[in-house]
């Protein structure tokens, strides 16, 4: 059989060592720096995402600790206002854009093909591209801070404070261009996830059989596809206003509008908040049942609630603008929408609670993180519910109450599940277990530190402390409560350090994990730890949501069983199976691309465009644009080996 055959009847078989050896040859990345720069392996890319996101988490955390010292008591003078403004802006930008989204992209990148029983993401080179651009965008944004011109207008960057007239340095230009660059990365990644969902599921994995993490990342990705353009556009228009004299946000008689910025930003911003929590909630929905020894209660309800949250999430952006003077009748609508969006969240909370209630807990570190998340999620949820009520929000908004809320959302619903996910999937990533004893210390330190640091912010908010103040006067009644917050934030930071320490220690000396250390039900646990470059020797077939638990689940009629270790043999080069979007019946053998430098070169060229725009160096923009076009053409040039062109004559 030649590689260029139009059609083929793939053989069906079981895992054989010599098949595995051949696949290893086909799929492995070349050793050395060349392989490192050109790899398209989703596992490698996923780990890079996670490591990079954690590096940014540490940077953002250190920034926060510095200004927590400043705020620990009234009239502290550790920082001057400009330093404070850059630090809090960098902190918000880092955590929201460079940590919270990318870390979930990392987990999803690593886990998706394994959960789906696939060999890779649908578009492996785009996957590499999305990582490189993310890395370069992060460096771009931090370059500003490193030379003393960090963004300083808060992460939502309201105009006209961000306009040239009030912000003369290059700070905001860095921010605007860096965010557009980062938006390209996010969009590329989102498209890849959606296509992977549509096309790359193992035979038989119909849409009612995919893990909830898949639903979470899928809905987040769909949201990103529709929401990212809003913020990229807003930043582009701002850059135009600042550099070529357009009038989009010009409030000094040019016909522009300051509120246009807020609409565009929050049309993106609110869906984004869901995009950076839904995959994390998905990780809990998949991880928690493993430690309750039963399937998730209400799978369909939770999956639908995930989608419903996202759809409703597009209709509530105005609740960030309740105080901007909009008519009360429209406020009523957005208030109601913002409150009712809690219903799908309630579905999740009660599904998780019921899963624990009706199961038997296995007290491991991931269980601690996942189950405590339910409480933190509830606290973040009810504080959000409070701000949904317009008259109350008029008092709460822009106080520390909102700061408390956003941290219960981002730490409670992102960092805690991520920490649990690290304990849960680290054995799969590395083949070694994390230290459980240290894990317990880690969990309790983070849990106590977090609540000590951030719960009091609800109180300081109710006592009227505005957010984004670099200091406050004595006599406002906020001293002690801020001191407690500062102490708590340092305890929390110590907890995060324990996590990192545990990872560094265990990656070398942790106990060996085996394929399935938690006795979990999904496909990623059917392959070795760490998985081979080709993920699965043969493509699994799936007949339920719990392929590895089928033999033990009671009440399941005697129907077709999943086959994690038997199925299609695809060994003619890098190949994967394409299945149809609903039922996941095989409909094509996909030829997967090999490792390539094109994504790296493309990312460098795109970044060069943005450097050119920053420096207003039009020649650089032009050269880089040509570079992007040339790379694209080389990248996409049809290859016979990939079945992208017709047969050669008489071939």
């Amino acid at each position: 059989m030649t590689i260029s055959d139009y059609t083929r009847a793939p053989s069906v078989g079981t895992e054989q060592p010599e098949l595995a050896a051949r696949l290893q040859k086909i799929w492995e990345t070349a050793p050395g720096i060349g392989g490192w720069l050109s790899t398209v392996d989703h596992k490698e890319i996923g780990l890079r995402y996670i490591v990079t996101a954690f590096a940014f988490l540490i940077l953002g955390g250190v920034e926060a600790l510095i200004f927590r010292l400043q705020l620990s008591w009234s009239d502290r003078h550790l920082l001057n206002p400009e330093q404070y403004d850059q630090l809090f802006t960098m902190h918000g930008m880092t955590m929201i854009f460079l940590y919270a989204g990318p870390v979930l992209s990392g987990f999803s990148n690593y886990l998706w093909p394994l959960l789906l029983g696939s060999r890779d993401m649908a578009l492996p080179r785009l996957n590499a591209l999305s990582y490189w651009i993310y890395l370069f965008a992060g460096i771009f944004l931090y370059a500003a801070f490193a030379i003393g011109f960090g963004p300083n207008d808060g992460w939502f960057n309201y105009v006209p404070l961000a306009a040239r007239a009030y912000n003369g340095g290059p700070n905001i230009d860095f921010y605007a261009l860096g965010m557009i660059l980062l938006g390209i990365s996010t969009t590329v990644g989102a498209v890849n996830f959606v296509v992977t969902f549509m096309r790359m599921r193992a035979p038989g994995m119909s849409i009612n059989r995919v893990p909830i993490l898949i639903w979470g990342t899928l809905t987040a990705s769909m949201a990103n596809i529709f929401a990212i353009p809003a913020v990229s556009l807003a930043f582009f228009l701002l850059w135009m206003d600042r550099n070529v004299g357009t009038h989009f946000f010009d409030t000094a008689g040019g016909g522009g509008s300051a509120l246009l910025w807020q609409h565009l930003f929050w049309m993106f911003g609110h869906p984004w908040v869901y995009a950076i929590v839904l995959p994390a909630m998905g990780m809990v929905s998949d991880g928690l049942p493993v430690f309750c020894r039963r399937p998730l209660v209400g799978y369909s309800a939770v999956a639908l609630a995930t989608v419903a949250t996202m759809v409703l999430g597009f209709g509530v952006w105005v609740h960030h603008m309740f105080a901007t003077g909009l008519p009360n009748i429209s406020l009523s609508f957005f208030s109601a929408a913002s409150i009712i969006i809690a219903v799908p969240s309630a579905v999740g909370v009660f599904a998780w609670l019921a899963t624990i209630w009706t199961g038997r807990p296995v007290f491991t570190t991931p269980f601690l993180f996942f189950s405590s998340f339910i409480l933190l999620f509830t606290i973040g949820g009810v504080s959000g519910f409070m701000t949904g009520s317009v008259p109350v929000d008029w008092q709460l908004t822009d106080t520390y109450f909102v700061v408390a809320h956003i941290h219960y959302v981002l730490i409670g619903i992102n960092v805690f599940p991520v920490a649990g996910a690290i304990y849960f999937w680290f054995p799969k990533f590395t083949g070694r277990m994390l230290d459980e004893r240290l894990g317990r210390w880690n969990f309790w330190t983070m849990f106590v530190g977090f609540n000590l640091g951030f719960f009091p912010m609800h109180i300081s908010g109710l006592l009227g402390m505005p957010r984004r103040v670099y200091t406050y006067a004595e006599g406002m009644g906020w001293d002690w409560i801020n001191l407690i917050s500062t102490i708590g934030s340092f305890v929390f930071a110590a907890g995060v350090l324990m996590l990192i320490w545990n990872v560094l220690k265990s990656v070398r000396s942790g106990a060996m994990a085996g394929d399935n250390p938690w006795d979990a039900p999904t496909l990623e646990w059917a392959t070795s730890s760490p998985p081979p470059p080709y993920n699965f020797v043969v493509i699994p077939t799936v007949q339920s949501r719990h392929p590895l638990w089928e033999d033990r689940l009671e009440g399941r009629p005697d129907e077709a069983r999943s086959h994690p270790h038997a199925g299609l043999v695809l060994e003619h080069g890098r190949e994967a199976i394409g299945t149809d979007p609903l039922d996941a019946q095989p409909d094509i053998i996909l030829k997967m691309p090999g490792d390539s430098y094109a994504p790296l070169v493309f990312a460098i060229a795109v970044t060069a465009i943005f450097i050119g725009l920053l420096l207003l160096a039009w020649w650089l923009v032009a050269v880089a644009f040509v570079g992007v076009a040339a790379t694209t053409i080389v990248w996409l040039w049809p290859e016979r080996a990939l079945g992208e062109t017709r047969e050669p004559a008489n071939g």
Binding site: P81, P295, A323, I356, V362, V392, D398, L463
Partner: protein
């Protein structure tokens, strides 16, 4: 203008601002004037109790945290909102408590099992009722809150009576320009950073963003309304009892967002009318001596930014300082209005409020003293 500021090593006024803000009884009774005060001999705790024995705790909270809005809010607007605020807090705390208890019960209702290579798996059944009951109850609570919210919103959307006074407030980086509007143009006057209102009357505010977006917030009297350049937002509020309230900018507006506060004084209608007539009248320019010299220096060094009605100083870039000596605070709620603080402020405005637009005037200590003396006469 900012951004190019390369991390200046600011120095700050080390004199603590401690206690400079005059804490007063929210119900209009500055406690030092109480008869009990003279007898209390500094025992402030007893003093508080004697002033407001019934609401002691609430009273203490509102005076210890002047911007809080959960104990001190009152009047026709903030007061109407307060039950809703407490209501959603109560619902939220109840939800937290219920979920915490359910979670603890779920986890510890039976012993856990140890991790093993192959463990029992329970059936995929049960728990659905838990889910649906929980969601149904939550939905009812949410719907009730929506109805309550819309009702309160309708109630506070309009003032209970036609506003008796219209005040135009323009927010600048980082101070407040206050204009009292009147159909009679001669009765219009401008002041800064301190707003007087009559009690028992709805007051209408026209809110303007003078440069960037600010937000107007007097927690005890009303929620926030943003002040956005290019549009005029409206807000009404009403104080039901005389007293002094604190206001604060609550939208991040740049370097000195933290130090952009103001004072609201609610007077009885009679006191307010007197205050207003007094404000409309020009200040008297001293005829000679040290004060005249101070007035001259003021005009020369300060007059291009600041105005004093009745003098030649007519600048519009900074706060109008007419009747300056009647104000409680200087520098937008940052320092108590004392001659020492005023002198310190004029000597080094950038030390006290780094980045603010008032540059250090070139003055000898003597000239500065004369200006302070002059300003203190602007009653």
């Amino acid at each position: 203008m900012r951004g190019g500021v390369p991390w200046p090593a600011d120095h700050y006024l080390d004199a603590s601002i401690a206690g400079m803000f005059p804490l007063r009884d929210r119900f209009g009774e500055p406690h030092v004037e109480k008869p009990a005060a003279s007898a209390a001999d500094g025992h402030t705790v007893e003093l508080h109790a004697s002033i407001n024995p019934s609401g002691n705790l609430l009273w203490a909270a509102s005076s210890l945290a002047p911007l809080n809005y959960v104990t001190g809010a009152s009047g026709a607007k903030a007061g109407e909102t307060l039950p809703l605020t407490w209501g959603v807090i109560a619902i939220s705390v109840a939800v937290m408590a219920i979920i915490a208890v359910l979670l603890a019960l779920a986890i510890w209702r039976r012993p856990g099992i140890a991790r093993a290579p192959r463990m029992a798996v329970g059936p995929d059944e049960g728990g659905a009722n838990f889910l649906w009951i929980g969601v149904a109850v939550s939905t009812l609570a949410l719907l009730a809150t929506i109805i309550w919210t819309v009702k309160v919103l309708a109630e506070i959307g309009k003032p209970p009576a036609a506003p008796g006074l219209v005040i135009e407030v323009t927010a600048h980086q980082w101070w407040w320009e206050v204009r009292y509007l009147d159909p009679d143009a001669r009765r219009i006057f401008t002041t800064a950073n301190e707003i007087h209102i009559p009690t028992g009357t709805p007051v209408q505010f026209k809110l303007i963003g003078g440069d960037v977006i600010h937000s107007f917030w007097i927690p005890a009297l009303s929620g926030k309304t943003d002040m956005i350049p290019g549009q005029t937002n409206e807000l009404w509020l009403e104080a039901d009892k005389p007293g002094t309230y604190r206001g604060q900018c609550s939208e991040y507006c740049g370097l000195e967002h933290a130090k952009m506060a103001f004072v609201v004084v609610a007077d009885t209608p009679r006191d307010f009318a007197a205050w207003r007539s007094h404000q409309i009248a020009p200040d008297v320019t001293p005829g000679g001596g040290v004060l005249a010299s101070g007035a001259a220096y003021f005009r020369m060094k300060c007059g291009s930014c600041h105005a004093v009605r009745g003098s030649d100083a007519a600048g519009v870039l900074g706060p109008d300082l007419s009747h300056f000596a009647t104000r409680q605070m200087i520098a937008a709620g940052v320092l108590a209005n004392t001659p020492q603080n005023l002198s310190a402020w004029i000597e080094d405005p950038q030390g006290i409020k780094p980045g603010n637009l008032m540059q250090k005037p070139e003055l000898s200590a003597e000239q500065r003293g004369q200006i302070v003396a002059y300003l203190e006469t602007l009653k």
